[in-house]
Symmetry: C2
Subunit: 627 residues, 2 copies
């Protein structure tokens, strides 16, 4: 073969390669590491190079702008050298050291408890199936496509099987190169099974999925091994869309003004960041990730898919869809196997999303005789009440305070977060996750802290500091702060505090949530006493002090055995659908079974909210424990 020379700048490295060598390969020969997330499929568009001199050939990519093409930009993975070249590697193309992933240690603790559901038969949503096909003979010369799909149909006991043209095109070659022993990746798209991918040999043990809870404030991702029915790791990050508003409504307004492309892009970036971090840390190739399963509120689901949100925001609050079809993950820019699927779990309405259906699935409210209430505390507080016969839902806009956001020293429940605050020998004490020095306060710590400040009468029932009661109150820029450590004896550089504004955010959040529960029960002619089981879900790590939550008026004062803190039920439920076909079918049915009540505009809700913006409430009888 003819040899050609390629010189890379600014490194000034020249390699000699065969004519027709893909640039991605040439770069690698030069020992230059460039960004390439999709493994050379032209999907991610990261491997941009600038051809300064010489001739190249290859498909033009939609990942390049017109201006870039004019300037000589190419994708390294889609372009081959046909003559001597001088190539510039742009700064942003060089692989950077990865941003350190935030391992979601707290959530990680309770993995295995989540993953195993004895009552279901393990059967992952995406199946990898190894087959040794009969080789064709003149007596049995069934076509390749039918040979494979009929075998898989028989194995899975299904009637039909879809397969895309791209797979069929490569199938004759894959089958013959691998002696008719291949592994088919089979996904479900609604009622239809589809052979998404075919690989040579037996790759059944490489079937990974990422389960994602897309919160308004926090995005949590779990990497699971669908073959072993096991969680491998979990990570989380704040939702970068926060720059366009803390609350869902602000982001929808931004999308209406400026289009939703930017919001979608930010979300996809966060998701790709979590997926690649999880994959890297666990030695899993992106190509072996066959699916991403997402739960979240309906607006987040819309941003994920680039759907218009304007009708969710406006009366009568109509979503574009609450049950989106499974898609190729690549269609929205999620970087897993190029043919991997993105499942958006079904939600209920514009204001009650798939995080809630997943929550119901996880807590099994829908299978119980007893009456349950599920409160999911996030940026929106969602309330579900029901049993096996009926389920109703409503939603309240709470703001992100209880997730540790919109609080000056707030942080997510990860290492260094103050997760509990308590009184010991008359002193206010705290405990951090990982027992390290404090970096901030997470949601459970904030609820504890407000409760303790109220108990110690450092704040009054309106949430204001009572003047001169304590030496740790300081004023900064006109706002009062309570310092958790003595400024002299305590941590010098990282003094954690809560301000009066922070407390106001907490009070508004708890009032919105409490009022939603109260009015929903009123609509049903029920009261809190009727509830047999009270589930509390949310991004608090493993810890939420029920007494503190009652003390601040977030939840009513019921017998403690009725309460159960269930953590992130959105992830738990979504994970069930990843591992068990039965669970997936159930969540699809759930959507139809739930009635949504819109309370936000209701007069009695507004009145109840006004009564609830005190600590714990104007009607103190409801909260015996704190009186």
């Amino acid at each position: 073969m003819e040899k050609i020379k390629i010189t890379f700048y600014p490194q000034d490295i020249t390699v000699s390669v065969e004519k027709g060598t893909p640039l991605l390969e040439a770069v690698s020969r030069a020992n230059i590491t460039i960004s390439n997330l999709c493994g050379g499929d032209g999907i991610c568009g990261r491997c941009k190079l600038i051809v300064k001199e010489g001739d190249v050939t290859g498909e033009i990519s939609v990942k390049l702008t017109r201006e870039e093409v004019k300037k000589g930009f190419v994708l390294a993975c889609m372009t081959k050298a046909v003559g001597d070249l001088v190539v510039e590697i742009p700064e942003e193309t060089l692989a950077k050291e990865k941003r350190k992933a935030d391992r979601d240690t707290e959530r990680f603790r309770s993995f295995e408890e989540i993953a195993y559901k004895k009552e279901y038969e393990p059967s992952p949503l995406i199946k990898k199936i190894y087959v040794e096909l009969d080789k064709p003979t003149i007596a049995n010369n069934t076509a390749d496509h039918e040979r494979l799909s009929e075998t898989i149909c028989k194995k899975l006991n299904v009637g039909s099987m879809q397969m895309g043209l791209k797979i069929i095109k490569t199938l004759p070659d894959i089958l013959r190169k691998n002696d008719f022993r291949v592994t088919a990746t089979v996904g479900l798209r609604r009622d239809v099974a589809e052979i998404m991918n075919v690989e040579g040999g037996n790759t059944e043990d490489r079937n990974f999925m990422v389960i994602i809870d897309i919160g308004t404030t926090t995005i949590v991702a779990h990497l699971v091994d669908a073959n072993a029915i096991k969680t491998l790791d979990a990570m989380a990050c704040f939702n970068s869309q926060g720059i366009h508003g803390r609350e869902v409504t602000r982001r929808m307004i931004s999308a209406e003004k400026k289009g939703n492309e930017e919001l979608q892009k930010l979300l996809i970036q966060d998701i790709n960041y979590l997926i690649t971090s999880l994959a890297d840390s666990n030695g899993v190739g992106l190509k072996d990730i066959t699916a991403v399963i997402c739960a979240g509120n309906t607006a987040m689901g819309h941003f994920l898919l680039g759907l218009p949100t304007e009708n969710i925001r406006r009366y009568p609050y109509v979503a574009a869809t609450v049950d989106p079809p499974p898609l190729r993950a690549a269609e929205v820019g999620i970087e897993i196997n190029p043919r991997g699927l993105l499942y958006s779990l079904p939600g209920i309405s514009g204001w009650v999303g798939s995080d809630i259906t997943a929550g119901i699935l996880s807590t099994e409210i829908h299978e119980m005789d007893q009456l349950s209430l599920l409160l999911d505390i996030g940026t929106n507080g969602e309330v579900i009440v029901g049993n096996k016969d009926w389920i109703v839902a409503c939603s309240a806009s709470a703001g992100p305070a209880l997730e540790g956001a919109s609080i000056e020293c707030g942080m997510r429940a990860e290492e260094g977060a103050i997760e509990s605050v308590f009184i010991d020998k008359g002193e206010i004490c705290y405990k951090t996750i990982g027992k390290t020095p404090p970096k901030g306060i997470c949601g459970s710590g904030i609820i504890d802290l407000v409760s303790v400040l109220l108990e110690k009468k450092i704040i009054n029932r309106s949430g204001s500091f009572i003047e001169n009661t304590y030496d740790r109150i300081i004023t900064e820029k006109g706002v009062k702060r309570y310092l958790l450590d003595d400024p002299v004896r305590g941590q010098k550089n990282n003094i954690i505090f809560i301000s009066e504004l922070d407390i106001e955010n907490v009070v508004v959040a708890k009032a919105a949530i409490f009022s939603a529960m109260k009015i929903l029960l009123k609509r049903l002619d029920l009261d809190f006493q009727s509830i047999d089981m009270f589930y509390i879900a949310g991004a608090f790590g493993n810890y939420l002090n029920i007494d503190s939550a009652i003390a601040i008026g977030l939840i009513p004062d019921l017998p403690r055995e009725k309460y159960r803190f269930v953590g992130n039920t959105s992830i738990k439920g979504a994970k069930l659908t990843a591992f068990y076909d039965e669970a997936f079918n159930k969540i699809v049915q759930l959507r139809q079974a739930i009635t949504y009540y819109d309370l936000m505009g209701a007069q009695d809700y507004v009145e109840e909210f006004q009564k609830a913006i005190f600590l714990p409430h104007t009607d103190i009888e409801l909260f015996q424990a704190s009186s």
Copy 2:
């Protein structure tokens, strides 16, 4: 709005338009007609312009090469003007007068007889369904996607309905702009119904499909109105792949050497040419064509989809697929509605294609007690024998002589073709289609002519001219020709003849076909006498003289009432699947019910072929009529 100026060259026309105007619109304002087949969806890539000066914006198109982008080429439909522009319109972009379409008059005659099958309930493969949805209220704020798909499911009585992300994205807007009155286009992809498209208002009466028989030599296309269950028009052209070999095998060899892209491209060009010609002539917009349904031999089906054919050609003759999935027609470059579907009907094996399953469906062999033989005469001759209990098939490589190709004066059965030759008062006479002066001879005329030459002893049983028997035999370049008209008295400028080589091609074709029938029956322990009904299908227009076919030894001498000439059963069967769901389901079942016999390598087939290359045969007893 800000106004900008656009000057078009070489016309030197300047128009003033609003900033942001698409170039396609600006061109139209300048009253310049450019080529644009897809209606502005960036699908066809015809509307190329060169921006010489000024700024434009818009997506880059994969329809442009890198070199073109560098030179300033843009697609008019995908590009908007953002400043004053100077734009060149390349010669090839200007709309040309359309190549005259060959209207397939002969096939057209028998349309309506084909279209109506009383035993089926009309139910087109693609359905357009107009709905007036309930408008959302707070009590019924079902999401748009679920609102539409649940209504359509109910109307069609199906359990679920797929819808692509692109449709869901635009749905909120379409619904609200049209007061929730829309028409959904619903297609079937295997067992799954899919909403392919949503249009405002009631467009139920605009549901057109094109049915295509892809022959090795001839491509026939019928335009049908699926709403009215009616054929509107038909056209045909020779398959442009002919330049890569007359026979399927030659084309497969070419594809193995040079890749199959070129063969696919030629086929798609022919198909697009027929579709646009039919659409233009009948005032049907390409956007209103919702599906293309193709039948043809398996190799043609592979070329259509760009599938590798190498294993069809080699023992044990395995196709990549004989039952390809329905695809977006745009995925292979067919220009109809951008979301319209391409259905490739299911065939049986590498050498018995969907033209044969369609033929069986059309003749209903599979539903009869009596034993039928279906002979489909094309470039390959396919033979089907069976009844309601069993069906077997085989295939013989005949060459294109009986279709009027590979014959010097050969032509398709269209106006001006000699379609019959007969002896009147001792003279050899002929009749042309449309009773016009002769332009050539089509298949039925060729069979008649050879039979007549034999009867008049102008040729011997080997197909050679008997020397000096007739004054109309002339020798040109060493090859003898028989002139159909007296060179002095007849047509001066267009003398039609048949050469000794032409006759040889006919003899080889008929020998291959006859031998296949004989050996297939032998394998089944049957003979010609066992056949109750003998169907002859093929591209002969409406006319085939059974006596002539017997006389040359193409078919055996059976009682005439057993014969039925059924024309192009590939088109007829395919059209049934377009109009009747039941027919579509039946053809899918048929594939499984048919057993394929490979005869081509068999010793007894070769021996039989040797005996059959005489007129009519060495065993003259088989052909009483001609003896």
